[in-house]
Symmetry: C2
Subunit: 202 residues, 2 copies
């Protein structure tokens, strides 16, 4: 059941019909199959990475599919390709749009919504980092500052040691924070510069 329907309903991307000459049919089909296998491999790898980093498997799969497919797909395309439910695809696509790494596009004369993934890898990672920083990093910094102040109120040695430990962590995380801020800044030149400079150090 895995291969039989794979060449069927899963490529409704509009004008690129399967109307190629019969002489090319067999080679094209095998080339398509090869590409599809490679896509599957890509999707699996990306999903595995995602779930190791706290991203729901399906969300990573949908993103991987849209990225590697390159062209816009609609809900039904994604459902058919990944075999997940309509509701799940709907929620997942919305989440990806919220993250800013997938965009909703409209095709004239088609009431369906289509979705494309950000194709610029640098922009992709800048966006991901910006979001994760906002959602996880900044709250952690706030909590650590609270926590330092809480323990710092105590004059006992234990309190001072506590504060020192929190401070060490805080300093480090604030540094990472500043670096990531530079990376995600509009010009986004930070990491490129860093990469170049690091490359030169022996």
């Amino acid at each position: 059941m895995s291969d039989s329907n794979s060449t069927g309903p899963a490529r409704p991307t509009g004008p690129t019909g399967p109307a190629s000459p019969a002489t090319l049919a067999a080679p094209v089909a095998s080339a398509d199959a090869a590409v599809r296998d490679a896509q599957d491999r890509f999707i699996a790898a990306w999903a595995q990475m995602g779930s190791a980093w706290g991203i729901p498997r399906t969300m990573a799969e949908v993103h991987a599919l849209l990225y590697i497919h390159g062209e816009a797909m609609n809900t039904d395309d994604v459902m058919a390709r990944l075999a997940v439910s309509r509701g799940n695809v709907s929620m997942t696509l919305r989440a990806l749009v919220d993250w800013g790494i997938v965009f909703r596009v409209h095709h004239r004369g088609d009431r369906k919504d289509y979705f494309v993934a950000e194709q610029d890898v640098w922009k992709l990672f800048r966006t991901i980092i910006r979001e994760r920083k906002k959602r996880e990093f900044d709250p952690l910094l706030d909590a650590l500052r609270d926590c330092r102040d809480l323990g710092g109120a105590a004059r006992a040695p234990a309190g001072r040691e506590h504060t020192a430990r929190v401070d060490e962590l805080l300093d480090f995380i604030e540094m990472v924070d500043r670096i990531s801020e530079r990376f995600i800044s509009p010009t986004g030149i930070g990491l490129q510069v860093a990469a170049r400079l690091l490359g030169k150090v022996s």
Copy 2:
């Protein structure tokens, strides 16, 4: 039950008995309570961050406790402080030791095992990055290379576009890989250099 045993079995670090003068008992108790509250806050914040990044909650909590407590603790200390089962603590401590961010120490004349967390924040993050790179990044790179070769075998335009997309991602990830390698290298000077340089760029 939270405060009463805090001065009891929770600091078994040898000869430092609870023999402080009665005149200091009240202030010290309140200072201890403040520190404990601050520790709790720290543990909660660290656990939240951890679970956003795919680390089991208990594992993050145990690590946070050992880090913020600073001194060695045994299984019973951790069980009592975090209210988790013996089995869970045992498995979690083993995992933390495997990660290399917690160490097993022995106290003479005590058959229990004690555990301390790495206190050097730079070393801590270097170790974490080294492990995550090894466990997640490197396999992803391998999979992406496979996947590029798979799709690249097809000469069809779709195959070439596929390969181009995988390559873009691969280039980016390889760059991050090289940076992280520099960061985790024995001297570990990489990020410090980057931080300094980035700090100077306007």
